[in-house]
Amino acid sequence: MPFRLERQETVSGLALLAAPLLALIFTLIVGAVMFVALGQDPIRAFSVYFIEPLSDPWTLQELVVKAGPLLLIGIGLSFCYRANRWNIGAEGQYVAGAVLGSWLALATHGTEAGPWVLPAMLVLGALGGALWGLIPAVLRVKFGASEILTSLMLVYVAQLGLDYLVRGPWRDPQGFNFPQSVTFDPVATMPLLFEEGRLHAGVLVGLVAVALAAFVLGRTLVGFSIELGGSAPRAAAFAGFDERRVTYGVFALSGALAGLAGIIEVAGPIGNLQPSISPGYGFTAIIAAMLGRLHPVGVLIASLVLALTYIGGEAAQITLRMPFDVTRVFQGTLLISILAADVLVRYRIRRLKGAAHA
């Protein structure tokens, strides 16, 4: 190999902040090349993708609605990633939370149940996500299994479980055989913030989560122990912080927030349980967490940026007849660019002179 990466002794904070911006710019360049290759005028395509959604009040609301789940999940993932625990399975925890929360909505359907139903659904949603998230944590602590693999594989288990429920026991008998549950009762539905549009109370939950997470990470011993465990595990053990407890804690928390996002989405914009309740929020939130520098406020901004790729993707499907996969390509390019930019900021590429030898 004629090149070698060398760790930089000093990394400026400015460079670390600039890295996501560089990644965004690089993603746009790749996007332009892709549009040209697809036979589109890149300027018009960018305008459809990224400008028009911002100029319409309805889509602005939609942007916030889409950013909501990304924000909740992304904040939970920030806790995991700061602790150097790689939860890739937020999508599964999202589904698990949606399923457990929906169970209550379906069980109380058509009864005289009062306004306690929705709060109880949210609690159950968080619980379902937390339990699903704890599975990889237990496997890691007890057996040393890689949480990256187990959390990812549990996504498919959760999705297929959901599929079974909405096609089988939970299918709406009056639904013309469509694989979906009954529409939730009003007491089991997220209230809207305004009469017009789709902006619902779940967004407020996300903002509360930002404030709480910023406080916990920045000001409390719990936040410090998570950071320390990820940064220097032996020093954390020396400081007396139990690595296992941190592992359980961050997985339970990120699972709970993903589950909460799931039940909010089902009880809000969707309104019932369906086979597909997420356009990949759990995976896109990984990008939101990384792009937001694992900081709650950063994740908030990153969630809005990523929500824009969803909205723009939908618009491009309609007006430009471009496949929705273009959005996935955008998101994927963005993640790779952030990770690469981080490496380039933290390391320096040195060209090795002289002959190659083993």
Partner: protein
Amino acid sequence: MPDDITPPALLEAIGLTKRFGALVANDNVSLAIRAGETHALLGENGAGKSTLVKMMCGLLQPDSGELRFDGAPIVFPDPATSRARGIGVVFQHFALFDALTVVENVALGLPGNEPLGALAKRIEDCVGRYGLVVEPYRRVGELSVGERQRVEIVRCLLGDPRVLILDEPTSVLTPDESEALFRTVDVLTGEGRAVLFISHKLDEVRRLCHRATVLRGGRFIAEVDPKKETAASLARLMVGAEVPRTPRIVAHEIGAPRLLVKNLTVPGDGSRGSALHDINLEIRAGEIVGIAGVAGNGQTALFNALSGERLARDPESIVIDTVPAGALGPTARRALKAGFVPEERLGHAAAPDMRLSDNVLLTTHGDGAIVRHGVIRRSVLQSTFAEIVKRFDVRFGGRDPKARRLSGGNLQKFVIGREVLREPVLIIVDQPTWGVDAAAAAFIRTTLRAKAAEGCAVLVISQDLDELIEFTDRIAVMCEGHLTEPVPVAETSREAIGLAMGGAHSAPSHAEEHAHAV
């Protein structure tokens, strides 16, 4: 060789300069190594010895200046080139695979595909010639540190080097093993090879070396004949000032036991049996007890068992200030007013990539002042941090840099200061002055002495026997997971301790009697 004839330089560095950002690691440094001579490179940690050696073997490229080999200018773009020209380096940290045999390890470092049998034969020839005891077919994982070092030396010698560079070779050896190494070095120079011997142990340098180059702060200070210098005059050159001795006045009372270790046994990680065998130890208020021993004989396991990073099976096997602490974690042990300073500063005592002020929290979060109800009180943290920095003279650039950015001596002062400010009644330090400059080392020893005078019990684990003799009251020796009974420094000798370090259990029966008595 007559004294008045100076042999020509074999490998010469002329005016080498190397900068790392704002830091000038080597500033116009010159050094000439001559055939048939042992040349010492002396300097404190951070004086620029490693940088110079790395430039001389092609691991680093100088910013300016040149190297000469046999009188002709030469450039080593990488270590392979310098090796091919006959420069062998044995670094402090060995590059050996534990799971492979000696001969397999040697084969990996050599070009070509020599049959292992033939290579083993060559190793044995080399062993006979230089008096290095190495068994080719043993697994490296089973070897002691001294034996591993011999494997590294043999690996170098098989390349028939003209210059052999030994980087702090005796820091991991018992006194006996060091003697054996010196004999090997004498044979090598007798064959006309040149040896560069890097050390900060002045007595060795005076005995072994023909010339010594002293570096300080990245600059060339002097080239002297070490045999004509005293240890004190060499130390002055290295440090640039008179090195203070630690006062050893025990005028205070020795009080109640602060640490009692009773029949502590810790199983090993599986590769080498038990890590600690039946350890017994008592430390009283006001005394400093030292544990001598060559690295890798269980010191780390002992530290982890005492700090609570590894819990003991029997809660009674460790008693801190009358409280059974064997089953308590680090935070609970700190609550008993115990303080711990591990050997490894970066990554164990401190988180390298966190700010220094945040590193204060590592051992103080349970003390009640900085963290209340789980919330970190930043202003209290900052004032504690400022006090550590001021009282222990911790120097660094910027207002609050990452721990990684501090020099070894300053970080060690910070880590020790962090514990001392907690007002502990028991303080356990692993390698207090390892890799620390002489002035900081003296400061650290004086600080620990002062704590003992205030009634604190101090346990010092160190591989530096001279340090232990200088400032502890009693010394025990750790060897292969066993600990001898501590004996008062005045009643023992360097030689007796050295023998015990090498595994000659000079007083095992005595220690066992003691164990039964307890």
